[in-house]
Subunit: 449 residues, 2 copies
């Protein structure tokens, strides 16, 4: 049996009992983290403009737009929620591939769950399988694929959305393979979109495309049954010397969701250790910004290369500025959504403190580590070394951390959803009779579901 | 100014007077040819299954499905009509790139013309510009792109659909560049889909994606403004050592639509010369199949490599069988849609005559040429050399040929449209106040439009 068929059969034959309890719980963490990101991004211009363009094309409005009053058909809801949840760059990361796997899978499954009722357990199972497929496809073509210019969260995410939707639609092995074929032939997204609205579009596009692939396959719309490994198929056309064994090795024994990380701060992941260090020093020393003479940061040279910007011109640019994250962490005691806005970038106190930050490349530092030394005006020095940032696999976000992040995101947007309701439903998702309640809790008015 | 901007400005600034009369006429030929293909394919299982899956997702049903009673929203209509018109492999070919350029462009524009009224002249202008952009993008990445495994009609067709739709929506240069960016990041389609429903899906996907890109850009959904030439943009990610000057050289002076060819027979283009030869011999010699002892065909070795199949198992396979096309041309005096069905492949007389056909590679033969020699049972020999097949650029289909082909296709489907009405409207398209009349003539009931 070839790789595509093996992966399709794995999805089609999977039973609830095959998903280890620890992965079921990890799924809830990923989904709660994702839902917060979607709520946080739901009022962004990117979403407003996509809605303005697409609203008239919506079919039967079965599916919620997270954080908003509107509904759209399931395909459009997958697209819009995929866009919303990637906007803040706050979603999860499969560190090996730098993919954001939850966005396309969860956006497709939430939209579908309101279109065709499923239980919470079915939802979690489909989600875990979708993540598994997306990440395995990513592993097979990494690292060449992303380095070459492909936006891997989209090009490989579409397979995850297809796999998850195929499972919820109860497709058989052949249909699931067709869904992979139809996902592959929609796999797109170039990195030139980064920094603009096209970036988040790519993620929504993958969510919609994967759902569409499964919906077509359900109606016997045929496709290749070997699209992953075929000479003119995905891995050879969008990859270079792909590792096809990554698609199936240890299938059902190891789980890619276990290697998924959640961000504590909505900025470049290599900056997280420096933020941790500053927040710890601030908390312990009750720092007064007026007493700070200078801040010296030692980080990995590569990490500094992309984050060395000292004078960010916008909220977007500040997400890759070590000087900025140091300044806001010390001044605000926070590095949340509000700290990466244009307004915060221009705050006089932030501008002033940014000017006191110097950086020093240190090849002995890991890319996920940082050393921060603060010199006070009276000559005292405070220093902190953080080898593993919060949110790394070595020091993962706790369930409480994820809840706190969710509250921050819910408060930051005008979504008016009841944060505690969403959190409670997320943790009990495997016991829900109707998974749609999860997404319906995250809109301003709760529907009866 | 970079290539993307130059091409976007060319589209945005183009005036009706910039389109040479000969290209306006060529547009009508391409559109009539395309409409026939769409009618011919409109009842195929591929369309029926796509409709079964997608009908419930349709928004406001503004746009006709060619040859059928149903309407769908403009995005879905672009998808379905794109699928229909590619199914028979009878659509046009931009020979340099082997792209089928009209399908994505015309499918997007017809759907849009019913959504937002435009004149026939605006329609023709947008069509010519769309073809120009699709083919120039194709030229820039050919021949590597297709050889590597990309389904070029989809990956480059999406730019044509975006360009044409951008023109009809009157987008400015910046918006048109964004539409190219959003088209690029949707550019997909692998050749592994060939031979299944995914092949025609790819073309419909490009039509829909290009239209969507323009609709988003109209609402200020931003994107890169240099997606064609950027290091992580289209030409470098989906191409290898691209010829970027092909994007803009001679823009407005030469027209790619002039290099577009129409197929007289719905089968592999390298077989057309052999069909011409057999039809001519049959017509001149009043051949009786019972008197034929053998048929010897000399063709280019490469052409024979892909068409040497002597015992095709299906209508689909017969499209690449030299023995089959020789047999049906001599027996039926035709090589139309009816000659490439499963039923025709199994006809005893066809099977018998196929068995008498032998092939001989001849490196001195052009890929578009053929030499046929028929030996009769009484020892007489009849031979014909065809250097340029009907439908080649050297011997193009006449307007009358295209009309005849349209009649054949209209009769082959159960579309019940009035063929003469469509033909008359096609030839007068530049004088119509409402271009929608063209597509509305090609549905069973004529709407007032």
């Amino acid at each position: 049996m070839n790789e595509t068929q093996t992966l399709a059969r794995f999805v089609a034959d999977s039973r609830w009992g095959d998903i280890p309890p620890v992965m079921r719980h990890e799924a809830k963490r990923a989904l709660l983290n994702w839902m917060g990101c979607a709520i946080g991004g739901c009022r962004d211009d990117t979403v407003e403009r996509a809605l303005a363009a697409l609203n008239e094309f919506s079919g039967a409005r079965t599916s919620s737009l997270i954080g908003r009053h509107e509904k759209m058909d399931a395909l459009h809801a997958a697209l819009i929620n995929g866009i919303s949840s990637n906007i803040l760059d706050y979603d999860d990361t499969h560190l090996r591939t730098v993919m954001h796997p939850t966005v396309p899978v969860a956006a497709a499954l939430c939209a579908l769950a309101e279109h065709r009722p499923v239980t919470g357990a079915q939802f979690i199972q489909a989600f875990v399988l979708g993540i598994e497929v997306a990440c395995r496809v990513g592993n097979a073509v990494s690292p060449w694929h992303y380095a070459h210019g492909w936006h891997i969260s989209s090009t490989c995410g579409v397979f995850g959305a297809a796999a998850g939707a195929a499972k919820l639609l109860k497709l058989n092995t052949q249909q699931t393979a067709w869904a992979f074929g139809l996902a592959a032939t929609q796999a797109s997204g170039v990195r030139e979109m980064m920094g603009g609205m096209g970036k988040s579009y790519n993620l929504g596009h993958a969510a919609r495309g994967g759902l569409l692939a499964a919906v077509l396959a359900e109606r016997q719309f045929t496709s290749s049954e070997r699209v992953l490994e075929a000479p003119r198929g995905f891995a050879h056309v969008l990859g270079h010397e792909p590792q096809l064994d990554e698609l199936t090795r240890g299938l059902g024994e190891t789980w890619e969701l276990a290697a998924n990380a959640y961000k504590p701060y909505p900025c470049g992941i290599v900056l997280h250790a420096a933020i941790d260090a500053c927040l710890q020093l601030r908390s312990e020393a009750r720092l007064d910004a007026n007493e700070i003479a200078s801040v010296a940061v030692r980080m990995n040279p590569l990490a500094l290369e992309i984050t060395g910007r000292t004078e960010p011109a916008s909220g977007l640019e500040s997400k890759l500025s070590v000087a900025h994250v140091v300044a806001v962490s010390i001044l605000h005691g926070l590095a949340g959504v509000a700290q990466f806005t244009d307004a915060c970038v221009g705050e006089p106190a932030v501008v002033s403190l940014r000017g006191k930050v110097s950086t020093q490349p240190d090849a002995s530092c890991d890319t996920a580590a940082a050393h921060v030394e603060i010199t006070l005006t009276d000559g005292r020095r405070l220093s902190r070394h953080v080898p593993h940032a919060t949110g790394s696999l070595e020091k993962p976000m706790t369930d409480a951390d994820i809840e706190k992040k969710f509250h921050e995101l819910a408060a930051s947007s005008r979504s008016e959803c009841h944060a505690w309701d969403v959190i409670e439903i997320a943790w009990s998702l495997d016991r829900l009779n109707n998974a749609a309640k999860f997404v319906q809790a995250a809109v301003p008015e709760t529907y009866s579901g």
